[in-house]
Structures are given as structure tokens and as C-alpha cells.
């Protein structure tokens, strides 16, 4: 009956499914009149690798959880771990939107060295200081990943309405929950188990995006340790160390990225961090020591209220993706 109700009535709950590297997360939140986000449902399942179809037992468990939460038939937004995406910045001559889309596609195929038929490519225009040029953020993800994610979500009884990069979704959530993104030069870092994404913004405009692969789950003491299988990941030495300097390689790479992004200006003075390790005081201290900037954890676990407190800061992507629906829900409610 709940299934039928979800299909026939206007949806008042924003739902997101996050295919993270360490877990599959699903969250359903509602926004109160005062802007508070209230969790209706939040559950975690073992990680579902998207390079292959979700196995039957995991799918059954996912379906059962969705059904138990009464979310059958609901629309949801999907986020995928950033390390499954290829991303790069590019500058192209100024052109109209259609030409830009075609050029961005060619540029992405060329840069990422991928088969056009096997990947899904998207781009976003960024502000560019050079006259007659436009800056682009290029992203590509294998269609196989998209198909597997879509099929898993649909098989679980949900209807995906968008698929997004987890770091970008986390940025949306952070932008909604925290002030100060629109003034000054600030850095935003979303740390996932296998990749950290650094976004540098100036006066509310994205300047640079860099992805840093590494075993950040190993570095984070609160998360599950996984074997490093990434060939080009940064070395973490030593991984077993519990000292603050285990974050030094990430901090140093961050500093290099920021220097590259801010060639013509000062370095950011503030860094906002989301992701599982963001609550690690030593991470923030390392950033402060190495990069010389104030680092603040955005504490995504506290973005929403609910019966049970979220156990870690790993929900930023899911919350950020779900929050995109609040505008639609508000207009649907008003109608």
C-alpha cells in the first residue's frame, strides 16, 4: 500500500543513495519550515562495487531495507564515489552552448583517452579570466558504472532521477548548510576512502578542482581499513602510524594543488572539510601546519536531526544530493 501511495502522491521526502567505496548509504530527509533537515530514514549496507552488477543477496538486502523504510516507488538521487570519475579542468575558446558541449566531449575523450561509446561525459562552465576563453570542468564516468548503479537502485524499488559525483553533491550540501562560501577565497575538501577532492572557490565561483587518490580510509582511524589496489595512489608512510603526520602526504599534495590553482592570487585562508576523516582533529591540525590555513570540519553528521545520531561524517554526499530536491518538494507542497 505504501508503494502505491509513493507512486500516486507527491513526494515530500528527499531521498538519496550514495554508492560510496566503504558502504552503500541511503537517506531520506524532510525539510522543516525553519530549514531544519529531519532524517526519516538512514541506513548503511556493505559497499556495492559498481564495476559489476550488484549480487543477489546484497540486492535483496537493499530491497528489504528500502521496503522496510516505506520508500518503494520513490524518486531518489544517486551519488557515486568520486574515484570512479575522471575529472579535469580545461580551457576552450568562447563558443555557443551546443558547440561547447561538443567540444567538451571531444576534449574529454582526448584527455581521458576513453572510448566515447563507453563513457558518460558531462561538463560545467566555470568563470575564466582570460578574454575569449572559457574554463570547463570535465567529468567522465564509465557507462557500466552508471548502468549498474541505476539497475541496483531500480531493482531495490527506487526510481533514480539523477546521478552525481559524491564530492559535488557534498559541496551542494555544505553550501546549503554553511554560510561563507560566497565570500573570499576558500578551499573545500571532500575526503572519501580512495580519493580526496579539492575544490577552490573565490567569491562563490569555482576556480579549481583536483582529485587526489590515496588510501585515506587507512589513514582515518575510525573507518574500515581496505587493501590499497590503486596503482597511482599517493604513498602513505607509514600507514600504521597513529600520529598526525600520517596525513602529511595529503596535506602536501593539497598545498601543491592550491599553489597551482592560485598562481595569480594568494592561497585560501580557510579550508572546509567533509568526509569520514573530517572529524579527525589530527587531520585538521596537519592541514593547518602544512598548508598554513585554518581547517574546519563541516560535521555532516550534524546537518540533519533524527531519532538516532549519525555515527560518522560520511553522509555529506547523500545529504547534499537529497537537498537538491527540497526546492521541487517545496513547490509541490505550495501547489
Amino acid at each position: 500500500m505504501r508503494h502505491f501511495q509513493n507512486i500516486l502522491t507527491k513526494q515530500t521526502t528527499a531521498i538519496a543513495v550514495d554508492f560510496a567505496d566503504d558502504a552503500l548509504r541511503c537517506i531520506a530527509i524532510e525539510q522543516a519550515a525553519d530549514g531544519t533537515w529531519t532524517r526519516r530514514v538512514a541506513f548503511e549496507l556493505p559497499a556495492a562495487p559498481l564495476d559489476r552488477s550488484m549480487d543477489d543477496s546484497a540486492l535483496r538486502e537493499f530491497s528489504a531495507k528500502v521496503s522496510e523504510a516505506g520508500l518503494n516507488g520513490c524518486k531518489c538521487r544517486v551519488t557515486i564515489a568520486s574515484n570512479l570519475f575522471r575529472m579535469d579542468m580545461a580551457q576552450l575558446p568562447t563558443m555557443n552552448e551546443q558547440e561547447l558541449a561538443a567540444s567538451a566531449r571531444f576534449e574529454a575523450i582526448d584527455r581521458f583517452n576513453v572510448n566515447a561509446a563507453d563513457v558518460m561525459i558531462q561538463h560545467a562552465s566555470l568563470p575564466c579570466k582570460t578574454a575569449g576563453r572559457c574554463a570547463l570542468l570535465l567529468m567522465a564516468v564509465p557507462l557500466l558504472i552508471i548502468r549498474n548503479a541505476t539497475q541496483a537502485v531500480m531493482a531495490a524499488g527506487l526510481s533514480p532521477c539523477s546521478i552525481e559525483n559524491a564530492a559535488c553533491a557534498a559541496l551542494h550540501g555544505a553550501e546549503l548548510r554553511h554560510d561563507g562560501f560566497n565570500t573570499g577565497l576558500i578551499a573545500f575538501m571532500h575526503i572519501e576512502p580512495k580519493q580526496a577532492v579539492l575544490l577552490v572557490m573565490k567569491d562563490g565561483q569555482l576556480q579549481s578542482v583536483r582529485a587526489m587518490q590515496g588510501d585515506w580510509a587507512v589513514a582515518a582511524p575510525s573507518t574500515e581499513v581496505d587493501t590499497n589496489t590503486i596503482d597511482n595512489s599517493l604513498a602513505l608512510e607509514p600507514v600504521a602510524s597513529q600520529d598526525a603526520w600520517r596525513w602529511s602526504s595529503l596535506a602536501e599534495e593539497t598545498l601543491r594543488c592550491m599553489r597551482q590553482a592560485c598562481v595569480e592570487s594568494n592561497l585560501p585562508t580557510r579550508m572546509l572539510v567533509t568526509g569520514a576523516p573530517s572529524s579527525d582533529h589530527e587531520l585538521l591540525e596537519t592541514f593547518k601546519g602544512v598548508c598554513g590555513l585554518e581547517s574546519v570540519s563541516l560535521n555532516s553528521a550534524g546537518w540533519s536531526t533524527g531519532a538516532e545520531r549519525l555515527t560518522s561524517d560520511t553522509w555529506a554526499a547523500a545529504l547534499g544530493a537529497a537537498s537538491l530536491d527540497f526546492k521541487n518538494i517545496s513547490s509541490a507542497r505550495a501547489a
Binding site: 544517486v78 557515486i80 558531462q122 560545467a124 567529468m139 552508471i146 548502468r147 533514480p160 532521477c161 546521478i163
Partner: protein, 203 residues
């Protein structure tokens, strides 16, 4: 928004998702329609069955009950019987008793007039009492006086000296006479079988 939403859901997947949702919605609406139709059909069938049962009961009652014509015939017969009984009762119990009429006429007799016979009959149409008086008067003057007294009474109508001839009684000459008159009963029957009210009475 700092970074626009970069949606990687392919159009064919979006169409597939929408198709699945549409299919579910159509299936649901179909099921609802089916349930509704079955419900309406069941209700109609029950109603039809109920109506049939009621009709059957009605037909049985009509078949077993006496007809209206028979009831009306019975009532007409009863009314006729009651009317006959009423007429008999009217005949037996006139509105004005004969003794009152006799007493009234006797009181009106002059000093030299006497009655030798009297006949009272009740006529139906018009409803009245016909009185025929036979008597002797000493003189014609006495007879006329008697006739005038009768005619002067409001309760008597049609006072007529139908016969007047000379006679002899105990060696004296007398006038034998016959006078006829009617006493209207003016009986009004309010309802068959109930009390009758006379408009005219006798003092």
C-alpha cells in the same frame, strides 16, 4: 549554486525509469479500476438479488391476499345490509311517536267534537306520518273550528276535510267527518347505523 548539478543519468536510463514508473502507475490504476469494477459489480449483483427477493415476496403476498375488488364488493354488501337494517329501524322507531301525535290532536279537539277512529301510517317518500281521523261534530261550525286548529299547528301539513256528511248519534243529528293530515318527520340520517336527528318535533 557554486557548481551546477552535473547529472550523469543517461537519457535512455531516465526514459526507462520513467517508463517503469508509468507502468507501475498504470498497473496500479488498473488494479484500482478492477477492484472498483468488481466492487460495483458485486454491489449491483447484491442489489439485484435483494430486489428480486423483495419482488418475489411481494408477488407471493399479492397472490395470497384477497383482491381489492373482492374487498369492495364485500364492503358494498355490508353497506347494503346495514342500510336495510337502518330502514327497518327507522320504521320501528319513528322520530315522532304516534302517542304524541294522538295526544296533540286530542288536546286540539273542541268541546262538541269527538273522534271515532284514527289511522296512522308512515310513508317513505316523502318521509312523513299520514294521519286519517274519523269523528263526529255537533255542528259544522265545530268541525271547521277543529279543522282550523289543526291547520294552525305548525307540525301538521295538508289538513284536509276529506269527508263530511250528516249522521245520527243517540237520536241526535251530528256531522260525521273524515280529516286527513300529514306530519313531516324531517329525519336526517347522519351516518348509517348512528343516531338520527329530527328537525321538527311535537310539543
Amino acid at each position: 549554486m557554486i557548481l551546477p548539478v552535473m547529472d550523469f543519468l543517461p537519457n535512455e536510463s531516465r526514459r526507462a525509469v520513467n517508463a517503469v514508473r508509468a507502468k507501475r502507475r498504470i498497473a496500479l490504476l488498473g488494479i484500482l479500476l478492477l477492484v472498483f469494477s468488481v466492487g460495483v459489480s458485486a454491489h449491483s449483483w447484491n442489489s439485484a438479488r435483494l430486489a428480486d427477493s423483495e419482488r418475489a415476496v411481494g408477488a407471493m403476498l399479492v397472490a395470497n391476499a384477497p383482491g381489492v375488488d373482492e374487498i369492495l364488493d364485500g364492503l358494498a354488501k355490508e353497506q347494503s345490509t346495514l342500510s336495510r337494517a337502518l330502514r327497518v329501524t327507522d320504521g320501528l322507531m319513528p322520530a315522532i311517536s304516534a302517542s304524541s301525535v294522538v295526544a296533540t290532536i286530542t288536546n286540539m279537539l273542541p268541546e262538541h267534537v269527538t273522534l271515532t277512529g284514527m289511522r296512522l301510517e308512515t310513508a317513505d317518500a316523502p318521509k312523513q306520518m299520514v294521519v286519517v281521523l274519523n269523528g263526529m261534530a255537533a255542528t259544522n261550525k265545530d268541525l271547521v273550528e277543529f279543522e282550523q286548529k289543526l291547520a294552525g299547528a305548525s307540525v301538521f301539513r295538508g289538513v284536509t276535510i276529506s269527508e263530511n256528511k250528516a249522521g245520527e248519534f243517540m237520536g241526535k243529528r251530528v256531522e260525521d267527518f273524515t280529516v286527513s293530515l300529514q306530519v313531516p318527520l324531517c329525519v336526517q340520517v347522519c351516518k348509517p347505523g348512528t343516531m338520527r336527528v329530527a328537525k321538527a318535533g311535537v310539543n
